[in-house]
C-alpha cells in the first residue's frame, strides 16, 4: 500500500494551483459588501488541477463495491440493476436546466411526466391518490404517519396516541412515529413469521392511531393474515400504514390498496430502480386511500380541464399536512423512475415480482442444500429470505458478521446482517430479478466454500476480509477518537 493510495484531496493541494478553466472569466470585485460582513480568511478548499481532481475521485470510486461491479444481495434494499437510460434521459438539458419555480408554460413537459408517474404509481399500488414530494423512504413514512394524525385530528378524535409497530419493523418506523408525536407500542412476531394476532387484538383500542406494517414482512414472508389484521385495526378506529420497502416482491401480484392499507410509501430507489448513489438521493412517494386524499403533502401535480398541468399547493388542499421540501421533492430521481416504468410497462411490472421471487426461492433452496439453516424453512421465500447461523455460531463460532466479511473477499457484497433483530445471527438475502442463474450459483459456491473453510480454519474466516484494501475496522475507537474532519496536524 503506497502512501498515495491513502491520500486525501487535501494532500494533493498546492498553494497557487487551481483548475483555472472551471472558474468564470475576468475577476470582479464585490466592493459593495460592507467590511463588517466580509470573510477575512480563505476557507482553504483544495487547490488542485483538474487532472488531480479527476484522478483522485476516479481512484476513490474504484474502492467501492457497487451493483455495476458486484452482486449485491442486500436484503430489504433491492439492489437491482439501475438502467443507464434512466440516468441519461433524466439528465436531458430541458429537465436539468428547468428552474423549479419556472412558470407553467415552461414546465408542461416535466409536469405531464410527473402526472403520469403519479397515475402509474396509483395503479400499481391500488391507492386513490399519490404525492411524489417526499425525498426518501423515511420522509415518506413521516408524511404517512403525519397524514394519519391529521385525519384523526380533523375528526376531533384526539385520544389516539399510539402507533403499533411489529418488533421486526425497520428502525425508521418507530422513529417516525415519535417524530409525529406518537407513542410506540411493539407487538411480537409469531413462530412462523406472521404478526401475532392475539397480541394485536390485545394491543388495539381507543388509543390506537394506526399500525405500521411491511408486507411481505421484514422476515421475508408474506403476511397471510393481512385481511384479519386490517379488520382488527379498522374496527378499533385505527388506520393501516404500509412500509413499501418490500413492494418489489408483489408488484402486479397484490396491491397494498386491495390489502386494506390506508396509506403507503414507496421507495422508488428500490422498487423502481433509481440509483442508491452511495446513500441517496432516494424518493419516497406516498399513496393514500380516499379518506386521506385531503391530507396529501404538497405539491401534487394536477391536470386542469384545459389540459394544462400545474402544481397544486396549500391553497388547493387546505387540509394538507404541508410541504416537506423547498420545492417539489427529488425531481431528477422521479424522472428516472418514470423512464424505468415506461420501459418495463404493465407486463414488466409483474415480471419484477415473478423473477425476484423465483431468484429468492432458488437461492433459498440452493443455500439450504449447501448446509445453511433457514429462519422460516416451512415458508415460501418472497423476494428475500433469512438464513440463520445460530447453529454454526454455537458449533464453530462462525457468525453472520464473519460470513459477511468473508464474502467481500469472494467479490460479493454482504447480505444484510443482524436485521431483523429477532432472528439470531441472521443474513437477510435479496438477489433481485436482474441477476442471472450463473451469478446466483457463483454466490452459493462462495457461501459453501466459506462454510467449509469455517470448519477447518475458523480464524481465517473470523479475520476476513483479507483481499480488500482494509481489514475490519475498530469502530469503537473511531467513535471515541471522533476524527470527522481533516486537520493537517492529525494527518496520516
Amino acid at each position: 500500500m503506497t502512501r498515495d493510495e491513502h491520500s486525501l484531496i487535501f494532500d494533493r493541494s498546492r498553494p497557487g494551483r487551481s483548475a483555472t478553466a472551471q472558474a468564470p472569466g475576468p475577476a470582479h470585485d464585490a466592493a459593495g459588501i460592507p467590511d463588517s460582513l466580509r470573510r477575512r480568511a480563505d476557507p482553504e478548499l483544495p487547490a488542485a488541477s483538474e487532472l488531480d481532481v479527476v484522478r483522485h475521485y476516479t481512484r476513490l470510486s474504484q474502492k467501492n463495491f457497487s451493483i455495476d461491479t458486484q452482486f449485491y444481495p442486500l436484503g430489504s434494499c433491492t439492489m437491482k440493476y439501475n438502467p443507464r437510460a434512466c440516468n441519461t434521459l433524466a439528465m436531458l438539458p430541458g429537465f436539468l436546466n428547468r428552474h423549479p419555480l419556472a412558470p407553467a408554460e415552461h414546465s408542461q413537459g416535466y409536469l405531464e411526466t410527473m402526472f403520469e408517474l403519479q397515475e402509474m404509481l396509483r395503479e400499481v399500488t391500488g391507492m386513490s391518490g399519490v404525492s411524489l414530494t417526499p425525498m426518501a423512504g423515511a420522509q415518506g413514512e413521516f408524511a404517512g404517519v403525519a397524514m394519519i394524525r391529521a385525519y384523526h385530528r380533523a375528526r376531533g378524535d384526539d385520544e389516539r396516541r399510539e402507533i403499533i409497530v411489529p418488533d421486526a419493523a425497520h428502525g425508521t418506523n418507530p422513529a417516525t412515529a415519535i417524530m409525529c408525536g406518537y407513542q410506540v407500542r411493539e407487538i411480537p412476531t409469531d413462530a412462523s413469521g406472521d404478526v401475532d394476532l392475539e397480541a394485536l387484538r390485545a394491543a388495539v383500542g381507543p388509543q390506537t392511531a394506526g399500525i405500521m406494517l411491511t408486507n411481505p414482512s421484514t422476515v421475508g414472508v408474506f403476511e397471510r393474515h393481512i385481511g384479519e389484521i386490517a379488520a382488527i385495526v379498522h374496527e378499533a378506529g385505527g388506520l393501516l400504514y404500509y412500509d413499501g420497502a418490500n413492494l418489489n416482491a408483489i408488484l402486479g401480484k397484490v396491491r397494498p390498496g386491495d390489502m386494506g392499507f390506508d396509506v403507503i410509501h414507496m421507495n422508488l430507489h428500490k422498487t423502481f430502480s433509481t440509483p442508491h448513489g452511495g446513500g441517496g438521493p432516494g424518493a419516497g412517494a406516498v399513496g393514500v386511500s380516499r379518506r386521506l386524499l385531503p391530507f396529501l403533502p404538497v405539491p401534487v401535480v394536477v391536470r386542469e380541464d384545459s389540459g394544462v398541468y400545474r402544481h397544486a399547493a396549500e391553497s388547493d388542499l387546505p387540509q394538507t399536512i404541508g410541504r416537506l421540501s423547498a420545492f417539489a421533492g427529488n425531481a431528477g430521481v422521479l424522472l428516472r423512475a418514470y423512464v424505468y416504468m415506461r420501459m418495463l410497462g404493465r407486463e414488466g411490472m409483474t415480471r419484477v415480482a415473478e423473477f425476484s421471487t423465483l431468484n429468492a426461492n432458488y437461492l433459498q433452496a440452493e443455500l439450504r442444500h449447501a448446509g445453511f439453516d433457514l429462519a422460516f424453512p416451512e415458508r415460501r421465500a418472497t423476494h428475500e429470505f433469512i438464513v440463520t447461523l445460530k447453529r454454526q455460531a454455537k458449533e464453530t463460532g462462525l457468525t453472520a458478521m464473519d460470513i459477511a466479511k468473508r464474502l467481500l473477499d469472494h467479490g460479493y457484497h454482504a447480505p444484510t446482517t443482524y436485521f431483523p433483530l429477532l432472528v439470531p445471527e441472521c443474513l437477510l438475502i435479496e438477489p433481485t430479478e436482474t441477476e442471472s442463474k450463473e451469478t446466483l450459483d457463483g454466490f452459493v459456491a462462495a457461501m459453501a466454500s466459506i462454510l467449509e473453510e469455517s470448519q477447518r480454519d475458523i480464524d481465517t474466516v473470523k479475520s476476513a476480509p483479507h483481499r480488500l484494501p482494509n481489514r475490519r475496522f475498530d469502530e469503537v475507537t473511531a467513535a471515541k477518537r471522533l476524527d470527522v474532519i481533516y486537520r493537517p496536524e492529525t494527518a496520516f
Partner: protein, 447 residues
C-alpha cells in the same frame, strides 16, 4: 424480457430445484381474494429507443428560457468533470457504506466533504448531508430544542424574510412536537430583520433564533447584532447560509462573539443542476460539543486490524437503525450522489474559483439593478444585497412577467403570493452564468 436475464432453460431448472411447478406457485401464500387485477392503467413497455424519443420531446417542450429566477435554487456553471465522475457506476450504483471495507471510496469522499463544508461555514463538525436546505433547517430546529435544555417554551424565532417554503417545511415537520414558530418582522425600508424588534422578546423564554444570510430578499443581515442579542440570553443561533456566498461573507462561526451554534443551508449551488427542484442536498454543521445531538450519518477516520487508516460510519448509536424510537431523527439517507458531485465541484473550484463565482454573481446582479434602474425599475429594499434583489415592477408586474416569459426570459420570482405587501415585486438573480448580452436581453424584454 427487459432487465431480466433468465432463459427458458434457467426457469425450468430453477423451478425444479425449488420443487415448484410454475412461477405462479411461488405466490401460493397470497390469499386468492387479494390478487391484483390486470394493471390496465399502465401502458405497454417501450424499447429504450422509443422512451428516448418520448423524453426528448418532453424535455424540449419546456424550452430553454433565459433564467433569472433564484429564490433558493441558483443556476451556476458545473464543470463537466463533476457529473461524469459522480455518475460512474461505482458511485452511482453503490449502497450506503455500512460495509466499510467495501465502501472506502464513498466513505473517504464524505470525510472530505465534511471537511470542506466545515471549512466553508467555519464550524467544527458536519454530517454527511440531509435532504435539502429546507428540511435541514427543520432538523436544525429539532436539534436546537435538544441542545437548549434550559428553555421550556419550545419557541423558535424565525425571520419573516426567511424563504417562505423553508418556513412552511419547518412547520410541517416540527408541528407535531409542540414547537412554536414566531415570525420576526422585516424592516420595511431595508428588507432585513429589525434588530430593535427583538427587544420585544427580551423577557421571553426563547429556544432558538434562526438567522438567514442572505435572507430570501437577497438582503444581507446584520448577523453580528442578531447573534449578540441571542448570546446575551443564552439562546442558540441557527444560521441558514448560501454556500457560494461564504466565499465572500463572514462564516457563521464568526458571527457575534461566539458564532452560530448550528449552520445549515441548501447545497444545490455547489454542483447540483436546477433539475426542477431536486435532488439537492442540505448541509448541517455545528460545534463539536453538539455532535451527538446532530441527526444523520457521520463519517469518521478509523484504523483497521492491521493499523491501516480508513473510514467508517461513526456514532451510529444516534441513528434510527440502532436507537429506533429514541433516535435523533427518523432520517436514514443522506443525499450521497449529490454530495459526491458537490465534493468534486468544491475540489475543482477551490478558494479562488468559488470566490470568482461569488464575485461574478454579486457583480452581475448589481449590473442588472443598474440597468433596471435606468429603465425606471428600482430595487425594493435599501439594504446591502448579495446576488438577488426584489425589484418593484409596478402595478402590472404579473402581466409583465408573463409577457417576458413568452419572450423566453424568466425575469424573476413574483412575491405577490407569499408577501401581499410586496405584490408588485419580483425577486431576480443574475449569477456568473449571465453575460452582458443576457442582461441587455432582460431589459429589452421589459418593454
Amino acid at each position: 424480457m427487459p432487465f431480466i436475464p433468465h432463459t427458458e432453460d434457467d426457469i425450468r431448472d430453477m423451478l425444479q430445484q425449488i420443487g415448484a411447478g410454475s412461477i405462479e406457485d411461488l405466490f401460493e401464500e397470497i390469499p386468492a381474494d387479494l390478487r391484483a387485477p390486470p394493471l390496465s392503467g399502465i401502458p405497454e413497455g417501450l424499447p429504450e429507443m422509443e422512451v428516448t424519443r418520448l423524453m426528448q420531446e418532453r424535455a424540449a417542450r419546456d424550452g430553454a428560457p433565459l433564467n433569472f429566477i433564484g429564490a433558493g435554487a441558483y443556476e451556476h456553471h458545473i464543470p463537466a468533470a463533476v457529473w461524469q465522475i459522480a455518475t460512474r457506476g461505482e458511485f452511482y450504483s453503490a449502497y450506503t457504506p455500512y460495509q466499510a471495507e467495501a465502501s472506502q471510496g464513498t466513505l473517504q469522499l464524505i470525510y472530505e466533504y465534511q471537511t470542506m463544508i466545515t471549512r466553508l461555514t467555519g464550524m467544527e463538525v458536519s454530517n454527511a448531508s440531509l435532504y435539502d436546505g429546507a428540511s435541514a433547517l427543520a432538523e436544525a430546529v429539532l436539534m436546537a430544542v435538544r441542545i437548549n435544555r434550559r428553555s421550556k417554551s419550545n419557541r423558535i424565532l424565525v425571520p419573516g424574510a426567511l424563504h417562505p417554503a423553508y418556513r412552511a417545511t419547518v412547520r410541517s415537520i416540527v408541528s407535531n412536537q409542540d414547537i412554536e414558530l414566531v415570525e420576526l418582522p422585516w424592516d420595511e425600508r431595508l428588507g432585513s430583520i429589525d434588530a430593535n424588534g427583538l427587544e420585544a422578546y427580551d423577557e421571553h423564554d426563547i429556544t432558538a433564533l434562526v438567522v438567514a444570510q442572505p435572507n430570501f430578499f437577497g438582503v444581507l443581515e446584520d448577523v453580528d447584532a442578531l447573534t449578540r442579542w441571542a448570546e446575551a440570553r443564552g439562546v442558540p443561533v441557527i444560521a441558514v447560509v448560501n454556500p457560494v456566498s461564504l466565499a465572500l461573507l463572514k462564516p457563521p462561526s464568526e458571527w457575534g462573539d461566539r458564532g452560530a451554534d448550528i449552520a445549515v443551508g441548501e447545497g444545490q449551488p455547489l454542483g447540483a443542476p436546477l433539475s426542477g427542484g431536486g435532488p439537492y442536498f442540505g448541509f448541517m454543521t455545528t460545534r463539536r460539543e453538539h455532535i451527538r445531538q446532530m441527526p444523520g450519518r457521520i463519517v469518521g477516520r478509523a484504523e483497521d486490524a492491521d493499523g491501516r487508516p480508513g473510514f467508517v460510519l461513526t456514532l451510529q448509536a444516534r441513528e434510527q437503525h440502532i436507537r429506533r424510537s429514541k433516535a435523533t431523527s427518523n432520517i436514514c439517507t443522506n443525499q450521497g450522489l449529490v454530495v459526491t458531485a458537490a465534493t468534486i465541484h468544491m475540489a475543482l473550484l477551490g478558494d479562488a474559483g468559488l470566490k470568482r463565482v461569488a464575485e461574478a454573481c454579486w457583480h452581475n446582479t448589481h449590473q442588472l439593478a443598474a440597468r433596471l434602474s435606468r429603465a425606471g425599475i428600482q430595487p425594493r429594499f435599501a439594504g446591502d444585497h448579495f446576488h438577488e434583489m426584489a425589484f418593484d415592477f409596478g402595478p402590472d408586474a404579473q402581466a409583465r412577467l408573463a409577457r417576458m416569459s413568452r419572450a423566453g426570459v424568466l425575469a424573476g420570482h413574483p412575491l405577490a403570493a407569499e408577501y401581499p405587501d410586496l405584490a408588485n415585486c419580483v425577486l431576480a438573480c443574475a449569477t456568473e452564468t449571465k453575460t452582458a448580452g443576457d442582461l441587455d436581453r432582460y431589459v429589452k424584454a421589459l418593454a
